[in-house]
């Protein structure tokens, strides 16, 4: 199903992450409770080509950040493999992992919490340079830091300042400069603009696109803002309760969503153009991940659900235009395929 090609930078195969959220052993015994396992991510597969942006979208708690953390090695997967540039991370030796780590970096939502408040900006940006021994002499380091600051639209003079002296958008620029300092090819961005105002968000999104064009960067982009995602991505993956339900080219997924959940999300997008389109409020809410519904996890909210949906879990199947959809109704051609306007 997944085509091997040198163009693929990241390949994620059936990864899962389970968290043990049980009460302490004694409480469990007294209260006669079972061990509680939360499946935050449950069998997710995707590939990202070099120079491309894959975005993951979905409602709060669906597992987006957990996927990002798994990809970055911040969590150990409970199952599945992560293959970066043809190397399976699980099989790589410590040295090899260290070499690979240098090639990917992560940017987080809160640009303040992720910067050490007691360090000057210059030191913050230089840290990966020193850790990965990319530049060692002070002169080299300074030269590179100055260049990075300029690249993200700040001034070399800012190296002497502390994070609190900057606005939210400027702090996010500092995180980007730090992430870029080890010359990574791959950036994992978890809600990088969600804490920012639209005007600042525009500055950061433009910067990310400029850097991608200039350095051929590859992004895994996480956001719950569908407009941002439609602006930045090449392809989009929609997640629901720890699983991918649809993956497709950005243009297609918004113009012609196939999965009933994607259709629901799409019609819930606020209409800024004020065409008079009524937002269809999505009925119901994301179920408790501790007790996910059987079969297709979306079936309690799905207007197209039928018997099969309650018992059998749908897998992603290839869809005619290169996308993938996990839905029995789509597979059985029970729902009318909407045609792009």
């Amino acid at each position: 199903m997944i085509k091997k090609s040198s163009n693929v930078l990241l390949e994620v195969i059936d990864i899962a992450k389970e968290f043990d959220v049980s009460k302490p052993w004694l409480n469990r015994v007294i209260e006669r409770q079972e061990r509680q396992i939360l499946k935050a991510v449950d069998g997710v597969s995707f590939t990202i080509n070099r120079g491309e942006t894959l975005s993951l979208v979905g409602e709060s708690g669906c597992g987006k950040s957990t996927v990002a953390r798994l990809v970055c090695g911040l969590y150990k997967p409970s199952r599945g493999s992560i293959i970066f540039d043809s190397v399976n991370m699980a099989d790589a030796g410590a040295d090899e992992v260290q070499q690979l780590r240098k090639r990917f970096q992560m940017i987080f939502q809160d640009p303040y919490a992720s910067l050490n408040p007691r360090w000057r900006v210059g030191k913050i940006i230089a840290e990966p340079l020193r850790v990965h021994k990319i530049a060692t002499s002070n002169a080299d380091v300074k030269q590179r830091v100055d260049k990075l600051l300029t690249q993200v639209g700040l001034s070399p003079l800012d190296a002497e300042k502390f994070p609190h002296e900057f606005s939210g958008g400027q702090r996010q620029r500092i995180s980007i400069a730090r992430a870029l300092s080890s010359n990574p090819e791959f950036l994992v961005c978890d809600e990088p603009t969600s804490a920012l105002d639209v005007s600042v968000q525009a500055q950061i999104l433009n910067l990310m696109k400029d850097l991608q064009r200039e350095f051929g960067l590859t992004y895994l982009f996480i956001s719950h803002n569908l407009a941002v995602v439609s602006h930045i991505s090449t392809r989009v993956g929609v997640m629901y309760l720890g699983r991918l339900v649809e993956v497709a080219d950005t243009k297609r997924i918004f113009a012609n969503p196939q999965h009933p959940y994607t259709q629901m999300l799409q019609s819930a997008i606020p209409d800024l153009k004020m065409t008079g389109k009524q937002r269809t409020p999505v009925a119901g809410e994301v179920p408790n991940p501790l007790t996910p519904p059987t079969g297709c996890a979306f079936h309690p909210r799905c207007p197209h659900a039928f018997e099969r949906c309650k018992t059998e879990r749908p897998n992603l199947i290839d869809y005619e235009d290169g996308g993938q959809v996990a839905c029995h109704a789509v597979e059985e051609k029970r729902i009318n395929i909407r045609v792009a306007a």
Binding site: G168, G169, V198, A202, L205, N206, A227, I269, E285
Partner: protein, 341 residues
């Protein structure tokens, strides 16, 4: 003024909010005026720090010291409320003005059932027996779309999901049938799907109860769908105010124009978003003249360096009002030239 037959429900006149500090007074909200009519939704947008929340807090009398109203008047149905003693203001709050804040958890007491909290609010403000108050609480929960309200009323806040908690907060704000609701970022913490539910609810209330709403948010999509008029705030001032469709489709203030261009929308084909360079000034360094002048690309289109010397008042501009010298009539512009020449 006194000849106008119907007084707007809320009138804010020349409101100024200051914070005394060791280095002098910081002016966070600087001489703003606006009205809201019964049944009308006024959207208030602007970057973080623009003064939106402070304005809302001043109206409900919840400005936290040392913040204080340094100038201006706030009138509810023609009656001045900004100078009332604490006890009287407390009666108005809840009874005549309801509040909805961003984080539903901080507005609910985790130790009491939601029913107890709603019933207490009803009993404080309305002359009803306990049984009547309980019946009304169930009715309110039904109205905001909590299924099985007669059972859910005895549940604790943590037993509800985020979207449901926000609906409970709304029912609490509505408990005494207030004439005005101040909603500060009521949907910001919620997913698009749930956001649509809350917006639909707010609109229904205005329609059915003639409630006036001041809706503070930085999300233009929410404003586009909900508001009748919108005020755009920048650095503690109103930059532009007018009917929502006009402000969105033909903004007149250079800041609003930039803001509208910065918003990504699904399906836009633009490679780059419009970007306003720089950031909003700090309160301690608001530039002289127009607060937007360091970031404005139109400064040179206004004669006599007026942008950097003289503060623009709201002027009629297209179908809105904008605080920008570009909109002073050509005649007035020449007059000024003649005077200074």
């Amino acid at each position: 003024m006194s000849s106008t037959p119907a007084v707007p429900l809320l009138q804010v006149k020349n409101l100024r909010i200051e914070f005394p500090t060791r280095r002098g007074n910081l002016t966070a909200v600087d001489d703003i005026s606006f009205d809201i009519a019964a049944g009308e939704v006024l959207g208030v947008v602007g970057e973080s720090g623009a003064g939106k929340s402070l304005t809302g807090a001043a109206v409900i009398g919840l400005l936290e010291p040392p913040g204080r109203i340094a100038n201006g008047e706030i009138l509810l149905a023609g009656r001045r409320i900004d100078n009332l003693p604490f006890e009287e203001l407390r009666k108005i709050r809840g009874r005549e003005i309801g509040a909805i804040f961003q984080d539903p958890l901080t507005s609910l007491n985790p130790l009491y059932t939601i029913g107890r909290q709603i019933i207490e609010t009803i009993e404080t403000h309305l002359d009803l027996t306990h049984a009547q108050a309980r019946a009304r609480a169930i009715e309110l929960l039904n109205e905001v779309g909590i299924p099985a309200a007669d059972r859910r009323i005895d549940h604790y806040p943590h037993q509800f999901s985020g979207g449901m908690r926000q609906r409970v907060v709304i029912s609490l704000a509505l408990a005494a049938n207030p004439k005005l609701i101040i909603a500060d970022e009521p949907t910001t913490a919620l997913d698009v799907s749930i956001q649509a539910q809350i917006i639909t609810l707010i609109k229904k209330l205005c329609r059915e109860h003639g409630t006036a709403v001041m809706l503070v948010t930085h999300d233009m999509g929410v404003i586009a769908e909900t508001a009748d008029r919108v005020a755009v705030m920048y650095a503690g001032r109103i930059a532009e105010i007018g009917p929502v469709a006009e402000v969105i489709h033909s903004p007149q203030h250079p800041y609003t124009i930039g803001l509208m261009g910065a918003i990504p929308s699904v399906g836009d084909a633009h490679e780059r978003l419009a970007q306003i360079d720089g950031s909003m000034p700090r309160l301690s360094a608001i530039p002289k003249g127009c607060a937007f002048n360091p970031r404005c690309t139109r400064v040179n289109d206004v004669p006599n360096h007026r942008c950097t010397t003289e503060r623009p008042e709201l002027l009629p501009a297209g179908k809105t009002k904008a605080a920008c010298w570009l909109h002073v009539s050509a005649a007035a512009q020449t007059d000024k030239q003649a005077v200074t020449a």
